[in-house]
Symmetry: C2
Subunit: 346 residues, 2 copies
Amino acid sequence: MILNVEENNYEINIKNNNDIELRDYILENKNRKFAIISDENVYFIYRNKLNNLLREVDSYIFTFPQGENSKSFKIYEEILKFLSDNDFSRGDAIISFGGGVTGDISGYVASTYLRGIDLISVPTTLLSMIDSSVGGKNGINFNGLKNQIGSFYFPSYVHIDYDFLKTLDKRNINNGLAEIFKYSVLEDKNLYLYLKENKELDYEQIIKKSLEIKLKYVRGDEKDKGKRQYLNLGHTIAHGIEGLSNYSINHGEAVGIGTIYMARASYKMGLAKEPFYLDLIDSYKKYNLPISYEFCTKDILEIIKHDKKIKDNKINIILPTEIGSCTNKLVSFEELEKIINLGKEI
Amino acid sequence: MILNVEENNYEINIKNNNDIELRDYILENKNRKFAIISDENVYFIYRNKLNNLLREVDSYIFTFPQGENSKSFKIYEEILKFLSDNDFSRGDAIISFGGGVTGDISGYVASTYLRGIDLISVPTTLLSMIDSSVGGKNGINFNGLKNQIGSFYFPSYVHIDYDFLKTLDKRNINNGLAEIFKYSVLEDKNLYLYLKENKELDYEQIIKKSLEIKLKYVRGDEKDKGKRQYLNLGHTIAHGIEGLSNYSINHGEAVGIGTIYMARASYKMGLAKEPFYLDLIDSYKKYNLPISYEFCTKDILEIIKHDKKIKDNKINIILPTEIGSCTNKLVSFEELEKIINLGKEI
């Protein structure tokens, strides 16, 4: 199926086993050069598929070591040099082929090389399919902080082929499901109940549902100054947990923990009438998602101080009031400290 | 006087001796931090003025060595680190205080730090007042090529105080006038005749005229895909000349030479009915602007190959048909080589 993101002028194509339409898209502009950006592991798994997709096309492959550490200034500069050395011009294009790390760094490169060249996004993980491939945010980590440098830049085409998911291990799939749980807590109780059943999942449907929820919040607030911040449910703490764990807790897992903490705090603050966070914990356990992380609140606050959404020393916190509905609260760091402490188990 | 750039949501304030309104603008958001980015020479000249403008304001100064070589990856990264180390958040702001180099690098930093923070532009040279402070382009040089990395990003306020011009030497003033000559050839014969008189110049008027012409071309084509390319008159060759001369020929001078070459080629191609390029040469000489530069066409083409506007191996060339009017021509490199050779004297 096709989701049309008219306001940012691109299409998202969601389908299984869909090399043929990606190949068609590439051939539509056969005169261009393509730079495929991917991590070494993903490239190794899919090198034959890529060769086939790019046969008789003027293409160049850049790979980097897998992992969050590659979202660095060094790799950013290396890719720019690779494009420049190969005489890439504005009519040429980048294909981001991989997960969130690949998408983040490719997007930042695409938005700044020659002040912007075409970006085709081919997400290969569940998390990147339902989150980072949509919404235009990109970035690299800097000075020990996540996504400190980057831009807002939209792809010209997003190709989601959930056949890629069959090479992902369970933990990686669950990483994506944790973000989908977040969408469900934010907006869609039916989606939550469906996930909670933990049966064979219809990926086409849950990807579509997730992207529709995400697009609803991004639309009209691309630059993240208003309603888009609701998507940040669980994320304020999550970024801290990822950092403190030195990325041994992955993004989805951290967002899952963050969402539970916010739901628990919300109940204790009287914003949520029911202790539905207990139900959330049950659901997350079914997918082997961690439900807590030991940290010292002061350490987390030290990281949150660098959150991009801070304005006048205040930060907007999203608190769920029930499954499918949230509220927001602009709080000082002192208030945030209290909320985080309420969110912790006892 | 105020020029309101509604479509990009900012004002340009043009006035002489106008510290007071800059101070007012800064104080409007007194809670924020300000990072002043400037080169060492400009900072040395204006440190007292800056201290006065920023008294009782939480401000931080970053200076770098004057000159085109500072538009580098290294300085870009240093400024980002400076902001991060000083805990700059999204509500804080950058003040770009200087000429084109300062504006270009400050704009790129502002657009990518935390995915974008406020940029206040205070141009201190004639060229930056009438060109680079408006239109949203920024960038750094990379891999030996000019402005290869950058973005489109608009300031929140542009403060043009032409009192700054009194500390500029003649060559620097003429650098700006060469770009104003370009505007006049593009669009405004009266402006051309006024400049040609070479009397005491009314800066408020010529800055306003120049910006109005620039805005006319930028409006609706911010991303430089159509009519904005007309502003590139003289620039295709100019970027090459700047590079070949190792920046001993400055930007305005190179644009002046480029404009003469295009006017001469246009006459020889029969596009211009009159040899008005001879009149141009006379006018430029009055301002001690160079009217030619010795180069081998192959060397220039080698640099032009990296021009950001190339698409499908073709480039759009702007050719003046008379003073105040131009046409464009999409040409291959072979055609461009011929045009450049026609543009050379004899």
